[in-house]
Amino acid sequence: VTGAHVTERLSAYMDGELDASDRETVAAHLRGCAACAHHLEELRAVDTAARELSLAVPDGYFEAFRGSLRERLQRTRPTPRRRAPVWSLAAAAAVVLALLTPRLLVRDPRARVAPAAPAPTLPGRGAEPAVTAPPAQTRSTGADTEVPAPRAETAEAPPAGRSGQRRLAEPSRPRAATPPAATPEPAKEQAANAAGAPGGYAVAPPAEMDEVQGAPPRTAAQARKVEGPPSAAAREEEAKTRRDKTALGPLQDRAAQAPAGEDRFQLLAHQTVSSTADARALRDAWRALARDLGTGPRADEARVRAVEVGFEAWRRSGDEADRAEAERDARAYLERPDALQAIRVRDALKALAR
């Protein structure tokens, strides 16, 4: 026998994962040790036997699998008719604000012009009955059995709408703070899309303009009406304001003021990105939430979403500053010892590097 037995290294040896020196040591030992050589053969036999284990699935299972997946994808795919314009988001924000924080609205200078009226409906569609939860789907295979939904802290990402998978990934529905019945239908559907996306934001077509009906006022723009043409500094200020305070502004501000918790998470998770400014604002809001939450699955998800929506900001703007920010967020995330979703962030990082 050449040296001590090498059983602990046989597994890696078998996989060709030892470095050259270790590999040679093990190989030399194996040439002179029948016990270790036999052990290696047994490990190989285990792998072979495992590969031969069959995957017993019911007949027609994969056809049903595809059918179910197709339905889910169709349900989450935004259609042109259903792509709610930015004003609906602002309107939804207004409703949420009106319901949640009427007293704050009075104190907040923006509240004077924030659209606090009931949400409009899509032109020509009329008001639709509110839906309180996404439709649960039942598979025809009978493969799904109802299992209690997981507690929120075990959930990794928002739902994509299938009943069974609730136990895997679905966080609890928004609670208390945002009565579903108050949300207009188009915005709700968008919100569902947003929640189902891996990055947590739905990608709506870029808005033609940032200036949209129902959007909050821009401080600098308002000032310009009074003070005449803007100076370069004022233009810069306005650009910054436009970046920071778009249609997402009020909701984002309110989210920032809300306690760091599930409601605030849900508020952000239901945002839809329609412009570069939206993406930037949402990125900042996710960062703030992650900072406030500190640790835990929700903080982790918030960090990942900040990266992904940051990527979206860059995709829309082509601005190097956005790319750099997203990359910085991604790298900071990957350096965290408690990062739970490194693969997701690495994918985003790779996309940023292209």
Binding site: E8, S11, A45, A50, L55, A160, R167
Partner: protein
């Protein structure tokens, strides 16, 4: 380093990214068995594996905009499925689930009755030993043995070090070997005796 993506696959993915559900379904057809398999090897129950596989494809579809089309889709979707499966196994609900019964497949014809019985028995033993592994070991074993990912790829997928991959895999294989010991080499011995 990944091999370059299959051009047909890259084209399908590009179409899927452009909104074609048909193209994405073609991708699903290519990987559904693999994805389901990796999920099942980790979560152990068909209905949960089914959910994991569905969710993995949903997430992949929704993240296509960040996926590098020059890379193969397989390792990516398998990693998504593996991570989802591990997350499930770690959840409190999973810990309450009883172990499933072994598969009840009829033995394939054309072999000696004793061989079939022994083989069937060995498969049951191996299946149960796999189910008895800690989730982390099972995940590493599944990614290596069924998906043939490198240690680096497994480490990246699970967010652990290569050393941890190595030790978990070694421990998993040792436990399986011990469980299967009565059957290992049995075929060879029977052949010698016959």
């Amino acid at each position: 380093v990944h091999a370059a993506a299959d051009p047909v696959e890259a084209d399908l993915l590009a179409q899927a990214r452009g909104g074609s559900l048909l193209a994405f379904e073609e991708i699903v057809k290519r990987y559904e068995r693999r994805v389901y398999g990796i999920a099942l090897r980790i979560v152990r129950r068909h209905e949960v594996a089914d959910d994991v596989a569905q969710e993995a494809f949903m997430r992949a579809h929704q993240a296509l905009s960040t996926f590098d089309l020059a890379r193969p889709f397989g390792p990516w979707i398998c990693r998504i499925a593996a991570n989802l499966a591990i997350n499930h196994v770690r959840s409190p609900e999973a810990r309450e689930e009883p172990l499933p019964e072994g598969h009840a497949e009829p033995p394939s014809p054309g072999r000696g009755a004793l061989d079939l019985v022994l083989e069937r028995e060995a498969q049951d033993v191996l299946e149960r030993a796999l189910l008895g592994l800690p989730a982390e070991q099972r995940a590493v074993f599944a990614l290596r043995t069924f998906e043939e990912l490198s240690y680096r790829e497994i480490a990246d997928a699970l967010g652990i070090s290569m050393g941890t991959v190595m030790s978990r895999l070694s421990r998993a294989r040792e436990r399986l070997r011990e469980a299967l010991a009565p059957y290992l080499g049995l075929g060879a011995r029977r052949a010698e005796e016959g």
